[in-house]
Symmetry: C2
Subunit: 267 residues, 2 copies
């Protein structure tokens, strides 16, 4: 059994390309359609009802491209819209929070996990809920790191200013005694090397993009949805508004190759 | 002749409080109503049509509070919505760009002016247009500084990380030979001390908040709209959604005192 339909991936903007990168590495034969809602980014400050409505619109656009699975490469959407997406669409829906939380629980030895993300993600408590749903005794130290996304979007991925900001954000978590850190924002894998430098050897880094891709692989296998082809799948990127500087930053840092961006303005 | 109605000031968020601070210092007897559209901030990435529509909505809310003048304490709105606001409302409308541009032209000796702002403001070319409208021969070096707003909103107003980011942004402008720098974002006056440190003595800093307040003073005098009272006027702050951390940063740094914030959700 095989299924040649593409995997549909969407995000409020460009950050979700880190999930695409992980999917490309893990499932090179799959076709991928990426949809970034650059016209309405960021979703973090918007109400849950609005985020749910936008998520359904994006998912519908991907379903019209015949997606066999929907990957929600966005923490904000994953934290509020998975139930409504799962209910509305017949294909499987995979978010970034569950897989990241699961990987963190497997990685931790001292049952003390750190979570970093945007203000909106940390305020939502989404990782706490997901972690505590599996293990009520795990300790969690979380911290909003609002400067990291702007630093990433400026392309300062390997820069001493970024290193100092990271060190400052992580210091209290390290003092708390975490042994595992979840990157709770799809932008953050672009800073994995810098964050790993700051953490040293004692703390394990959990990249939710990679873990999301692993969850997608497992699901495709379970439901016999893998593409049957042996050649490399195609990646197509659609945005709802013109991309800014960050698209080139992400493209270069992730070594992602794709043809021209398709612009699809929202109705 | 005197006029006891309040001055209405609005912005896409909290940044416009720097203009309020300048107004309070210059016109202490005036009542001020501030309206920040925190529910829909930031305006920078939105289309001009959307920004115009939002600006009219905010102005209408202030007109219902009986404003005698409308101060647009936001560069994005000032760059696209002044004509429609002026057309729609009978009271005077003052933006931040014109007064800043005029002050820069008065300050420069070598006719070479630097402008810094958000990506959206720099991309709009609004300061270039305003400067060239008065003096076609002035040279302009402009630069988007997208990290400054996040650094300000994190409260890092006097911090070596911020100093290094500022130095990096300003270096090419200083190399170009500017002798005057316009702060083209209402957040930036909160970094005036840090920016002045980085500029040294040779470059004059033009704070568009202060220059906007001077323009308001002149207009009230010309149209006999000054409040007649001798006691201190009242400042009331209304936001369209709950404020985040930045409100306390601004309030403290600007030494602004006002009663409880009023929340007025948009319809």
């Amino acid at each position: 059994m095989s299924d040649s339909r593409p995997i549909g991936v969407f995000d409020s903007g460009i950050g979700g390309l880190t999930v695409v990168k992980a999917l490309r590495d893990l499932l090179p034969n799959e076709d991928i359609r990426y949809l970034g809602d650059t016209a309405r980014v960021p979703y973090g400050p918007k109400s849950p009802e609005t985020v749910q409505r936008y998520a359904v619109e994006l998912a519908e656009m991907l379903m019209r491209k015949n997606a066999k699975a929907l990957v929600v490469a966005c923490n904000t959407v994953s934290s509020v819209a998975l139930p409504s997406l799962t209910k509305k669409f017949s294909v499987p829906v995979i978010g970034v929070i569950e897989p990241g939380a699961r990987a963190a629980l497997q990685a931790t030895r001292n049952r003390h996990i750190g979570v970093i993300g945007t203000r909106a993600t940390i305020r939502s408590g989404a990782y706490e809920k997901a972690l505590h749903a599996s293990d009520n005794n795990v300790r969690i130290s979380s911290r909003a790191c609002p400067l990291l996304v702007p630093l990433i979007e400026e392309g300062l991925l390997n820069d001493d200013v970024t290193d100092r900001v990271i060190a400052r954000y992580l210091e209290p978590l390290l003092c708390d005694g975490i042994d595992t850190l979840v990157l709770g924002c799809t932008h953050y894998p672009l800073l994995s090397p810098a964050i790993a430098r700051s953490l040293g050897d004692r703390v394990k880094l959990v990249d939710s993009a990679i873990n999301c891709a692993l969850a997608v692989e497992q699901l495709l296998d379970e439901q016999s949805l893998r593409a049957g082809r042996s050649d490399r799948g195609e990646l197509r990127v659609t945005l709802t508004d013109a991309a800014d500087n960050f698209l080139s930053v992400a493209r270069e840092a992730l070594h992602l190759s794709f043809a021209e961006i398709e612009l699809q303005p929202l109705p």
